[in-house]
Homo-oligomer: 80 residues x 2
């Protein structure tokens, strides 16, 4: 079975880490191929996150659909 | 292995359904025992959700830690 793509975008903030350790890692790895992207360290991928509809971090994009999880930081704040 | 408790609180709204169909159902069922609670139909459980730190729906509580997923409705709006 092909696994679906899951991308967890974060910025290393405490809210981000809590979401990563709990929610992102709770995904069924037999069905989802999880990639974890630190947008503070990979600013070149901010545009990709925005194109998926991500407005803040932490966010989880499942099959292209963005889910914002609590609120850590606005994407705009990561661009500077 | 004992499974951890996961409770997905929603109110039947479109944002809620999208989160349920994608994110809640993406959890690893071998590790998480998922319960889905419609707070509009089970108002007696609003207090329990609030006690877990839930402020809006849809929200997923993993092992007692609340994660708000996007934004559908404020919990206050469900009390009336």
């Amino acid at each position: 079975m092909n696994r679906s793509k899951a991308i967890f975008y974060h910025a290393g903030c405490p809210v981000c880490r809590q979401a990563e350790d709990n929610l992102a890692k709770a995904l069924d790895s037999s069905r989802y191929d999880l990639e974890i992207v630190h947008l503070g360290e990979n600013k070149t991928r901010i545009a990709e996150a925005e194109a998926s509809g991500v407005k803040s971090v932490p966010a989880l994009v499942l099959d292209g659909t963005p889910f914002h999880i609590n609120f850590g930081a606005d994407l705009k704040a990561l661009k500077s």
